[in-house]
Amino acid sequence: MRYQADPDDPDHPAAPGVRPFLRDTNPGGRYSPALPAGTPSFGDHPFGEPQFGDHPFGNQPFGDAEPSGQATSLRPFVLTSGRVDGIDPNIGPETQVCSHVGALSARLSPEQRAIVHLCGEPLSVAEISARLRMHFGVTRILVGDLRAAGHLDVHVLANDFPDPETILRVIRGLRSISS
């Protein structure tokens, strides 16, 4: 059985707070058979804390092409409680994110906790996505959630084209790179 990619599916409604896969009586059974033994996954420690650098999905690439048709990982929308739209279109891949000091003591999902862990220093959304091996769209939604909950500073810029002074600084900076 696998989730349909339909947020309106009555069996798996979008319910903030309780993520759909936690209601499944056998959360590991759907995807763990395809994992090599010893690969960390949600099925092994659904409530465990991810360690720094140990992202919650083990090492399998997300949505990897699987000719067998067997689902090997959580569908991305499960992590976002069924939402597929970014909350803020101004959050781009280069947007800088920084976590608040108190955020780690909050009750967070493992993915959100991993994001807060990573962002002690300012980090771009694309880097968060790459380091946690989460889809960019999923990362963007979770970052938006964390900002709404007051756990992250998201430095959204006006989407204006950069001014000439900024571009001149980039030009000077690049020129100083030696070949």
Binding site: A5, G63, P89, F161, P162, I167, G173, L174, I177, S178
Partner: protein, 210 residues
Amino acid sequence: MDFDPFHPDRAVGTARVPDAPQRATPPVPVKIIVAGGFGVGKTTTVGAISEISPLTTEAEMTMEGLGVDDPGQASGKTTTTIAMDFGCVTIDQTLKLYLFGTPGQARFAFMWDDLVRGALGALVVVDTTRIDDCYPAVDYFERAGLPFVVGINTFNGQLGYNLDEVRWALAVRDDVPILTFDARFRGSVRDALLVVLDQALDKAMKMRSS
């Protein structure tokens, strides 16, 4: 930590979260898009100049991609994952340049809107043996009004066609620079990016004067 609502740092801007402790101010990000077909050297281009080895982020192709990337009735596959490589160059403490390498095919255009928003410009990497791979990217950037430069990656220092022939094949405006570069060499990639930045500067100056 004492909370002082009248501390001068708090008076700057309205975006500051009142109870946030002082943290390093993140750099202002600027970005350049590196577009091109598979295997033309996008990742090599990014890696040649990036201070980090290129990272990969994945995006899921959603409904918009289905019409053109139809997996067929027999397949249970409803989505396709694509990869986007990126790297960065720290200009100074307050400014950071990001380079995003993205597939140039039309079926990946659903993510270009996000990428292009606020971008300085684009470098379209072209392999002259598969020149049509870059047509959709050129179309898109022309329509989006994003400054772009066509960079022909000369893998072995050889160029099958002269630049005029490439310009004719691409049918780009005369003010779009077409140049050759070698994606393996930092200096070569740097010079290509500087041409993109020149175009961006032109656009920024025009926007300011108008």
